[in-house]
Amino acid sequence: MSVKLTTRRVGDVTVIDAAGRITLGEGASAFRDRIRELASSGDKKILLNLAEVSYIDSSGIGELVSGFTTVTGDGGQLKLVGLSKRIKDLLQITKLYTVFDVHDDEAAAVRSFA
């Protein structure tokens, strides 16, 4: 299964619920397209929920970074919530854990945008 992306609003925050695999190919490009779409439509507060993401490879990590730079470059914020231990480990290995604002709880993550 590739990645499935569902977008919803919580207050003025856009939450992207991702499910499946974010890997080179369809998964990574779908993710990239969605982030760019949101950034170009003026969304400034984006919370990426990775709770249902079962797998992410280096290309997927690259897309997270690219999404982060796209959104912050437009003056917005992109934060992460719901990371599995494996994804947390990947962000630790790549030293990206401190680059992203990572939350365990969605409500707290949404509040942090205020």
Binding site: T23, L24, D57, S58, S59, G62, E63, R86, T94, K95
Partner: protein
């Protein structure tokens, strides 16, 4: 995908060799095959996941950067299992100089989109070696020892 399997009863070593097309489907096939062999060898789920990811990263390098999706070129996969799993992946590309790669964890490179594959491979495997492949291209060898073996 055609598999060639050879077993030696004396030392329980088993070898699988296969030739894969230069496609992303081959990346998935190689990952699944190696994870299956790692599971049979007794690696736990986390180790299987890490080994699978290391193989995925090497296969992507071989298919995308080595063979550049060229239909006439193949990826050579060999899996040897004993008290460890040793995976060799060779491409038929132009060759690759690992020393040219910037450190992806250096502050100035943290926000680069690519270049983290080798870092992940090293994180998940016990040994990693990259060298020119006899006959052209690049070959990598990944080894993970079975815990307690």
């Amino acid at each position: 995908m055609q598999l060639s399997r050879a077993a030696r009863d004396i030392d329980n070593m088993e070898k699988i060799q296969t030739l894969l097309d230069s496609t992303l489907e081959s990346v998935d096939k190689a990952e699944a095959l190696v994870m299956r062999e790692a599971g049979k060898l007794g690696f736990d789920e986390d180790d299987q996941h890490g080994i699978g990811m290391a193989v995925r990263e090497c296969m992507v390098n071989a298919v995308v950067h080595g063979n550049r999706y060229n239909k006439k070129k193949h990826v050579h996969l060999e899996i040897v299992t004993d008290k460890e799993i040793a995976v060799t992946i060779g491409d038929e590309g132009e060759g690759f100089d690992m020393s040219m790669l910037p450190d992806p964890t250096a502050p100035e490179n943290l926000l680069r989109q690519s270049g983290r594959g080798l870092l992940l491979i090293r994180a998940f495997m016990d040994d990693f070696d990259m060298h020119p492949r006899p006959g052209g291209g690049t070959e990598v060898r990944l080894v993970k020892k079975v815990p307690g073996a």
